[in-house]
């Protein structure tokens, strides 16, 4: 699935990934391939991104919102 992490200052991340772990407003949750469409609020925390080669990348965010639709994940973050 395709992930984009966008902040008001710039696009932080854009690429295909396997799994994403997000700091949801009511607890951390993960998103895998073919996730149902969701809009979720995020709180301050860390986004953990795992790509096909099991490389892990992390991003600190200061809250935001995530939208998932058709294997397209868009994270609007304040960082």
């Amino acid at each position: 699935m395709h992930l984009e992490i966008i902040t008001p200052d710039k696009k932080v991340f854009s690429g295909d990934v396997d799994a994403i772990k997000l700091p949801g407003a009511e607890g951390s949750f993960g998103i895998l391939n073919n996730h149902a469409p969701i809009i979720a609020s995020l709180k301050k925390g860390t986004i953990k991104v795992t790509d096909a080669k099991k490389n892990i990348e992390t991003f600190e965010i200061n809250g935001g919102v995530v939208e998932v639709q058709n294997n397209k994940v868009i994270v609007l973050a304040e960082a």
């Binding site: 966008i6 008001p8 200052d9 009511e26 469409p37 809009i39 979720a40 609020s41 809250g63």
Partner: protein, 292 residues
């Protein structure tokens, strides 16, 4: 007849002014490019945020949220965005004119206060009777342009939201120069608070989404974010517009200096020739007097 030395001095001073204006033009052109890049960078964020919000508020009545509640207007806050420096044509004058007009005519009889971003606005409103707020910000409002990032702008937006929620002000308007292209700036007045509901667009397919934790929560979380983004966008626009305006006015100044130099050179050469002719006449006259 023009004094030779005087004309020469003027030529020197005009050409050094021309050097300065053409250098300023170059600097502004470079800064304009960077400012435009910043606008392009934030556009995806702003448009996506708007999408999500529209999507949500289409199915949700948000007209009584704390940021969208309409109150009888008594106290009005004008957020005036100008530049820190001059030499950019009518850029600042236009905004200040629009702001004073708004305060004098549209909000006649209301209590008007201003929040100035940019030195030109604070210098101007210091001399008026309007109350100035925001001078207690930890980071000076005029230093915002030195480092224009979302992180620095957010506290200002929070402060504005705060005074609105605290019932200090019933309406907040933004006045700034919108960037259209390098040569054109549009003086814009925009209602900031209370939030105006986005026009409901049809054929939006809502309801397919899962909302986590709830629609209401997300909307309440997103509205402050979109307000911050709106202010940030206004600042970026104003910043780009400032450099555009400066570039254009410096270009004109350089051209004018060129024309002036041309004219002065003509005067100088004419005067020089007249002086030489005079001298020859004197010599010939003297020689003739000796021979005679």
């Amino acid at each position: 007849m023009a004094n030779l030395k005087e004309v020469r001095n003027r030529i020197v001073s005009v050409s050094s002014t021309q050097q300065i204006t053409s250098a300023m033009k170059m600097v502004s052109a470079a800064k304009l490019r960077r400012a435009q890049d910043a606008i392009t960078q934030m556009r995806p964020y702003a448009s996506k945020l708007k999408d999500i919000l529209e999507n949500l508020s289409a199915s949700l009545d948000s007209s009584d949220g704390q940021y969208s509640k309409q109150r009888p207007v008594k106290n009005v806050l004008l957020v005036v965005i100008t530049s820190n420096r001059g030499l950019c044509g009518g850029f600042n004058a236009n905004v200040l004119k629009a702001a004073s007009k708004l305060a004098r005519e549209d909000y006649k009889g209301n209590n008007v206060s201003v929040l100035c971003i940019g030195k030109k606005a604070s210098d101007y409103f210091k001399k008026t009777e309007y109350g100035i707020i925001g001078s207690d910000m930890p980071r000076g409002l005029n230093e915002l342009f030195d480092e224009l990032t979302f992180l620095n702008v957010a506290p200002v937006a929070e402060k504005i939201m705060q005074v609105f929620v605290d019932l200090q002000f019933d309406k907040v308007e933004l006045i700034y120069n919108q960037f259209k292209n390098a040569a054109v700036q549009i003086t814009t007045t925009e209602q900031y608070l209370p939030v105006q509901a986005p026009p409901v667009t049809e054929n939006k397919k809502v309801g397919e989404y899962i909302f986590e934790p709830s629609k209401e929560f997300i909307v309440a979380d997103l509205i402050p974010r979109s307000l911050k983004t709106q202010l940030f966008k206004a600042l970026l626009d104003s910043h780009a517009a400032e450099h555009g305006a400066r570039m254009t006015s410096m270009h004109k100044a350089t051209d004018n200096a060129g024309a002036l130099i041309k004219e002065l050179k003509l005067t100088y050469n004419k005067a020089r020739q007249a002086a030489i002719t005079n001298e020859i006449l004197e010599i010939v006259g003297g020689a003739e007097a000796l021979a005679g």
